[in-house]
């Protein structure tokens, strides 16, 4: 049986069987379709059924509700009684077939209130993913996964017919009313909420105190700040005792003030000590694992697992540092807090706890870096950090990272030779830009040999100011480490000799070749390219000419093929020298015995004269007497 509704043909069949099973079985057709009373068949189309005739309270609530008012405005999307309840086959709410039975409510409401529906798309609804979030929440899980029909569904909080926006003071979810709404089920909640709310104040001054939804977001009730039904006061009941000890003798006292001043001041005990069970007399007796920081600090946890520290920990190495070794426990402070062990100026001390010479990490370490903490402290970075108090200065973690420390041999390490330029470049970006263009960069030079990186010249932990004499002199040895032959010939020249005397006011490797921007001399941008070399010499030798620049800065007189004229000049001069000394020496040596002979004769003669003279004097003096 059909009829025409405009252009559409609709069925007007009524299933007598289903109607007989409905709650309205006892009601006659005209009980609802009152306008057909006394009309003959074929009767005219029936008018709208008014449920309020019997369900006057619900009708009134609906009329005042968000839905009812939308209906009154003529909103085509506004739901009417039949939209939720159906018509001829309405069954009791407790019947699982009812669309408004607890288990079906989320689906019923979701018909309009899930993502992508016209209502969600076109109407102003401040929440999103309502149904998805709800179904993942503790409430939704209870209802949908565990079949707990007492678990709250949409209507439990929003009511069935009196649905109002939370801005309406009469709404069940208005800020003032939300506590009352929640406590309809969570009637004893304040007992475990003493930290934030204090007993009855909660209901009385709900406008100044946090409401449930401030912590427990609507629809996402699982993602709460308080995972467990535990209050810190429950823990402190025992742990405020200074003398409390564990079975193995560790002090278990917790200072509430320590916690209060920490980064985790707003974190409850149970959020970290997550295995507590509120229903136990000793809630902590269910704890079997140490605190897992990664449940909140997931990224850091992942980095740590990858780090050498984490790898040691995974191998149950007793030296492996864990989160608390660096960050502490209850008094954990943020790295921006100067009192924090992870505050930049404290980091060397922190790392030094294990990595100072003689300490456990330094003892295990077999590489070439030693005395790293004392060296670092004397380095430019260490002085900047510790003496000048520059918190932006590089500290251990700046190069090694805070949580992902890896040995330099690991290609993924930030201090691996491959990654050193970019690690240093984080701060020294301008230098890195020059360096990657230089002959020492792997991007420029294709060689099987190891190319130098920042640390090869500047060292890792003893980095000095590059304008200090000691560094300027030392750097030549660094260059000479790879460029042995050229360094040796440099030391044969005036520049090299002056440098070797310990003066820096002369041309050293980097004065001519550049420091970070060393390029092949064939590169037009090199300081020593044909176009630039005269200007480079001119930096010290004002008035330098191209011919002057022809001075051989790496000349040696030991290479007859490369520098024959120097070689032969040297040997010519040496021959002259050796020849002269040979003849002079032989002449002198031959003379020596004769000269000694002469000396002996002379001495003998002098002795004889002295004897003669004293005789004369005796004669003279005796003559005077007479």
């Amino acid at each position: 049986m059909t009829t025409k509704h405009g252009n559409q043909t609709v069925s007007i069949f009524v299933d007598g069987k289903r109607f007989a099973n409905s709650v309205h079985a006892a009601v006659s057709c005209t009980g609802c379709h009152a306008d057909l009373e006394g009309k003959d068949i074929p009767h005219p189309p029936p008018g709208k059924v008014v449920c309020g005739t019997c369900h006057s309270q619900e009708q009134t609530q609906h009329e005042h509700s968000l839905h009812g008012r939308a209906l009154a405005r003529g909103d085509p999307l506004a739901p009417r009684c039949v939209s939720c309840h159906g018509n001829h086959d309405i069954v009791p709410v407790k019947d699982a077939r009812s669309p408004v039975s607890p288990l079906k409510v989320p689906f019923l409401c979701g018909k309009c209130h899930q993502e992508g529906t016209p209502v969600q798309l076109t109407r102003n609804i401040p929440q999103h993913d309502i149904i998805t979030n709800y179904s993942e929440s503790i409430h939704g899980e209870g209802l949908l996964k565990k079949g707990l029909t007492v678990a709250p569904n949409c209507a439990t909080c929003h009511t069935a017919h009196n649905i109002l926006p939370h801005t309406d003071p009469k709404s069940s979810i208005a800020r003032k009313n939300i506590a009352a709404t929640c406590t309809r089920c969570h009637s004893q909640i304040e007992v475990v909420h003493r930290k934030i709310i204090r007993g009855e104040l909660w209901e009385k001054e709900a406008n100044v105190l946090p409401a449930c939804v401030d912590c427990h977001q609507p629809h996402k009730i699982r993602k709460v700040y308080y995972a467990q039904g535990m209050a810190d006061a429950d823990c402190l009941r025992c742990h405020s005792d200074e003398k409390l000890k564990s079975f193995d003798g560790r002090l278990m006292a917790v200072h509430a003030t320590e916690l209060a001043g920490s980064r985790h001041a707003k974190i409850a005990c149970s959020q970290c000590h997550s295995q507590v069970n509120a229903s136990h007399l000793r809630p902590c007796e269910t704890i079997s694992k140490k605190v897992d920081c990664t449940s909140c600090h997931a990224d850091q946890g992942q980095q740590y697992q990858h780090s050498v520290h984490g790898q040691l920990f995974a191998r149950s190495d007793r030296n492996a540092p864990t989160c608390s070794d660096c960050h502490g426990t209850h008094h954990v402070l943020g790295k921006a807090d100067p009192k924090s062990a992870s505050f930049p100026t404290n980091v060397p001390t922190l790392c030094g706890g294990c990595h100072r010479e003689g300490e456990k990490a330094a003892v295990r370490y077999k590489g070439p870096q030693h005395d790293i903490i004392s060296h670092y402290s004397e380095s430019i970075h260490g002085k900047g950090l510790l003496k000048s108090g520059l918190t932006v200065t590089a500290t251990c973690t700046s190069c090694h990272t805070a949580h992902r420390e890896l040995p330099a041999s690991d290609p993924e390490s930030t201090v691996n030779a491959r990654n050193v330029p970019s690690t240093c470049g984080v701060c020294h970006h301008g230098i890195e830009e020059q360096f990657v263009q230089s002959v020492h960069s792997a991007q420029v030079t294709n060689t099987g040999n190891a190319l130098p990186v920042c640390s090869d010249c500047h060292t890792a932990h003893t980095i000095e100011r590059a304008d200090q004499d000691r560094f300027k002199l030392e750097i030549m040895n660094r260059c000479g480490h790879c460029h042995a032959a050229i360094a040796e010939t440099y030391f044969d020249t005036y520049h090299g000799k002056v440098s070797r005397l310990g003066y820096t006011n002369t041309a050293k490797c980097f004065d001519c070749h550049g420091a970070h921007d060393i390029r092949k001399v064939t590169d037009p941008q090199s300081h020593l390219s044909r176009a630039n070399v005269v200007a480079t010499c001119g930096r010290c030798h004002s008035g330098a000419t191209r011919r002057f620049a022809g001075y051989l800065t790496h000349a040696t007189h030991h290479d007859p093929r490369k520098y024959p004229f120097l070689f032969w000049t040297f040997w010519g001069m040496t021959t002259l020298l050796v020849g002269t000394f040979f003849f002079g020496g032989v002449h002198t040596l031959l003379w020596l015995p004769r000269a000694l002979e002469l000396r002996r004769e002379l001495r003998a003669q002098e002795a004889a004269e002295r004897a003669g003279r004293s005789e004369d004097e005796r004669e003279d003096s005796s003559g005077d007497k007479h």
Partner: protein, 300 residues
């Protein structure tokens, strides 16, 4: 030959006659060097030792000694300044000597030829060759000691060694001093060549002066411990007769010996001269020790 040297207290009287001087007066001494020559020699000593110390501190930069000395002198730049100042002093002494040669030529000789090839010339001549052969025979015991004149061949050699040294070291030194000027004409690598020549020739000069010249002139056993003639200008007449018998006899024959005699210097002058000479000698020997150490034990 030494048999004639048995009159030590004797001074010459005019006409070459000898008589014993009054015992109240010390004997007159033979004046071998004029004050100008003494002054030039002293300038040479001061400038030479200064040049050697400052220069070798650079040449032997690889020894700890060099570094210490360089710092003691006030750094390489100050050392360089001192080096160049000493060079100016030496150049000046050289220039004064050349001027003096011209003056001597004008006053004492008719021509350059006369000056270069006449008696008492500093040029090597046949007489020197004969004396060299005679000396070699004497050394090996095959003959008597030659009767040397005013300038022996080794003294002439020393004299021309200085001529050669000043020319070679001075020219290359100027090139190193003014490299930009010199490379206007010469290639840049000439500076490298100049460095080698300057350095090696300096090594030769210092080594020769501080060993062979010292021995030949100042430290010969018969004059040990010190011949100060070049400082005081005076030598005892007996020594002239013993060392330069030909000169002595020529002077006596010409009757000119009295022109070359003078009162001895006061004791304080002689003492001062000795102190100066010993300091110079000690420095020279220290430099030789340093050179030997640097060349033999620390050479790089």
């Amino acid at each position: 030959m030494p048999s004639s040297l048995n009159e030590p207290g004797i001074a010459a009287r005019p006409g070459g006659e000898y008589s014993r001087p009054p015992s109240s007066r010390p004997p007159l001494e033979y004046v071998r060097f004029r004050p100008l020559h003494r002054a030039l020699h002293a300038c040479m000593i001061v400038s030479f030792i200064t040049l050697a110390l400052t220069g070798l501190s650079l040449k032997f930069s690889y020894t700890g000694w060099a570094s210490r000395l360089s710092h003691l002198l006030g750094g390489f730049q100050t050392a360089g300044f001192i080096h160049r100042t000493a060079a100016i002093l030496m150049f000046s002494a050289f220039a004064v000597h050349l001027w003096d040669l011209l003056r001597i030529k004008r006053l004492e000789h008719r021509s350059i030829r006369d000056m270069l090839f006449g008696p008492d010339t500093l040029m090597l001549n046949r007489q020197d060759f004969r004396e060299f052969i005679g000396t070699m025979k004497w050394f090996v015991g095959a003959g008597p000691r030659p009767s040397y004149g005013r300038w022996t061949y080794w003294e002439k050699f020393d004299y021309f060694a200085v001529f050669w040294g000043i020319t070679v070291i001075g020219a290359t030194g100027l090139a190193l001093w003014f490299p930009i000027l010199f490379t206007r004409l010469l290639p840049g690598s000439f500076i490298n060549v100049a460095t080698i020549i300057h350095s090696d020739e300096a090594l030769l000069a210092t080594g020769f002066i501080f060993t062979i010249h010292f021995f030949n002139t100042h430290l010969r056993p018969e004059k040990f411990p010190m011949d100060t003639t070049v400082f005081t200008g005076h030598m005892p007449l007996a020594e002239l007769k013993r060392d330069k018998p030909r000169e002595y006899h020529e002077l006596v024959e010409k009757g000119e010996l009295h022109k070359h005699l003078a009162e001895p210097h006061p004791a304080i002058v002689v003492k001062t001269v000795r102190v100066f000479a010993w300091i110079a000698l000690a420095m020279g020997f220290s430099i030789v020790v340093w050179i030997i150490y640097a060349m033999v034990f620390a050479y790089r």
